[in-house]
Symmetry: C2
Subunit: 400 residues, 2 copies
């Protein structure tokens, strides 16, 4: 059976362990080691308040080779002042000591509750246990995916295999994130591995583009956390002819990274806190790309739209309302809205659509809302999920 976890690509040893940060006793620490050193790229939260881990990893990722990534869940180590910073450094130095590398060549990531200090002694002990447990098996990869979970109900993993200069390159990823998810970055934590040989700038570009069109297009509650981090490690061990420019080989590689990220983003949307359905919002006819992005997000974030989707209610009026209030340019007389391929609003007036068909569309596991602003030629999209219960008990039933 193929190994679809982050140990799928050659050159990575991975483990997940329990070190006692979470009261539940579930896995709460993960470790990725690349014994030969990996080229690394990372994207971090743009929140102005960032975790200690983000501060440290932002520096360390500049190193020429990364040998390990240590991650914990259950505690974000954010808003923890100088002590928090020292603890993040300690996680790196302790990992580095165990595997005998320079601490600056270790990355660190944390997720969980904000504002509490890490139980650093337990973590130090945990790092030792994780090193002992390192494995290139699928079980090792899965244990890592579990170790980064917070309110996620299931581990989220994806992988793709492509050919580059006759070699079978693997790209794999594990992600966590169920709430506190807004565009830029809708990730919380995302770890990607590959055995491709590629230059660091191109690796960074492939990651940035992939995140931009996947995790950054997902909104659960419209906010990004203090800790969001996506890391892509390339061991180069598959031995392909190194990707050094934006040639077809690069595009194939970047395309596969994008597919893995898109897969992970959709898994995140489906596993968003309380979500039962996801939807894609596509904006067309915008006067600028920025307007398209803004309008797509406004719809995906609008609680009343999210509740309507939960109720399987084709309440397109709320979609139009969200677009109208988000500040983008639009022509009311040309404004149109489709649910999948069913037009419900055309040129500013409602159509006589089949209500049963509309309800059926909105009741699917996934559907697409398309809104044409009627002002230009730009387009963008966003993934969203429904919002359930209490708030819904009032809003989803309001139509009938």
């Amino acid at each position: 059976m193929a190994n679809d976890t982050i140990t799928g690509p050659w050159g990575f040893l991975v483990a997940g362990v329990t070190c006692g940060i979470k009261k539940s006793g579930n896995y709460d620490m993960g470790l990725i080691v690349c014994p030969t050193g990996a080229k690394a790229a990372a994207v971090f939260t743009t929140n102005k308040v960032v975790s200690a881990a983000v501060q440290i990893s932002k520096q360390h990722v500049k190193s020429t080779g990364i040998y390990a990534v240590v991650a914990n869940s259950g505690n974000a180590n954010a808003c923890t002042g100088k002590q928090g910073l020292n603890n993040a450094i300690k996680m790196c130095t302790e990992t580095a000591k165990q595997i005998e590398v320079d601490p600056h060549k270790v990355l660190v990531a944390s997720t969980g509750i904000i504002g509490e200090q890490l139980p650093i002694q337990r973590i130090v002990t945990g790092i030792g246990r994780a090193v002992d447990k390192l494995s290139a098996s699928p079980a090792g990869g899965l244990s890592f995916a579990k170790a980064i979970m917070t309110t996620d109900t299931k581990p989220k993993q994806a992988s793709r295999r492509i050919e580059i200069s006759g070699k079978r390159v693997t790209i794999a990823g594990a992600v966590k994130g169920a709430g506190m998810i807004g565009p830029n970055m809708a990730t919380t934590l995302c770890f990607l591995t590959t055995d491709a040989a590629i230059t660091k700038p191109l690796l960074a570009r492939a990651l940035k583009d992939a995140i931009g069109n996947s995790l950054n297009k997902l909104t659960v509650d419209g906010h990004q956390s203090t800790n969001d981090t996506a890391i892509l490690l390339a061991s180069g061990l598959i031995g392909n002819r190194p990707v050094t420019k934006q040639c077809p080989r690069y595009r194939r590689f970047a395309g596969a990274v994008a597919e893995v990220c898109d897969d992970l983003a959709r898994q995140m949307a489906h596993d968003a806190e309380g979500a039962t359905r996801i939807f894609k919002v596509v904006i067309t006819g915008a006067v600028t790309k920025a307007d398209a992005t803004k309008a797509a997000r406004a719809i995906a974030d609008y609680p009343l739209v999210k509740c309507a989707v939960n109720g399987g209610d084709p309440n397109w009026g709320r979609i139009i309302c969200a677009v109208g209030s988000c500040g983008v340019k639009l022509k009311v007389g040309k404004l149109s809205c489709r649910l999948d391929d069913l037009t419900v609003f055309r040129n500013g007036s409602p159509t006589k659509f089949d209500a049963k068909k509309a309800s059926k569309i909105v009741s699917q596991k996934e559907h697409t809302i398309t809104v044409n602003l009627g002002t230009g030629k730009h387009t963008d999209f966003c993934y969203g999920c429904d919002l359930s219960r209490e708030y819904v008990a009032i809003n989803a039933d309001y139509h009938t």
Copy 2:
């Protein structure tokens, strides 16, 4: 007993009736008549898609005297094209015919489902019944407050009495709105009456300022509808020396209008869909007023903060996270946060605060979150309410 409804001020006849827009059979049409003609001021939604009623009322409010306001709930008459516009006009002409005035001197307001045509024949019949039922009694005022309700669980009314040049001036208001409430305007529909004599420009100014500091400071789900309308009618019948400039008499009047609007805004917050608690967010130390406004709203709108409040959980990390991600200038090393008078985060580090006391504060019916951005001297505030259940079952319990 004092009449605290919109029939409290001299010169207004009011009614609420059932005309069959709502399937529930509840009141769904309200009528306010000022037989002597009132000076009128209004504030409307800034949504780019506006209801037919808003389009018509925006024109009619320019008239020198307003004799009636006709309002319906259960149908927003928005996104209804030309037919919707004709129906809004019909509501004015029919009311005007019944009370024998110029149709341009009648205002109209609608609230409810978007995108469906009004049952105009029922409304025409209803207007006739409302005219027959007009009354200056408290019961008349209350019936109107009920007639504008949608998902509201109770009618919302407020009034204040002040003395101006020896006369006892009354200002009263009725408001509806439980969801689709964002700043600018957090109103949906708001109707205010007064018997003060005051010039039209000052009346408009008093309304604008009052709304700006009350209904516009309230966010339930961060969006404004296609229909938001606030109307202030002044009959002038109390016979005070007319308020013609920004003198102490004007300030007293404007202050009372502001108090009525603040009272109504808080009632709306408490009756927001699913809400069990409200909170006030105060931002200090902002580099600009706009930053203060933005940060206050970001916190009040943040689902995870709203869920924490629902759970009585002093999860201040989410507050800091919301501030950090909203794009305002801040100094992390000077960032501080208080819950009522309890400092939980000071100069970028957590304090050792009494957790029980913090939980008690957040568990109150109302509490205040104060955040100092540490960058300047500007300040602003915003009212928010909690978010309940399912989403909460995951988020509110996450801290423990």
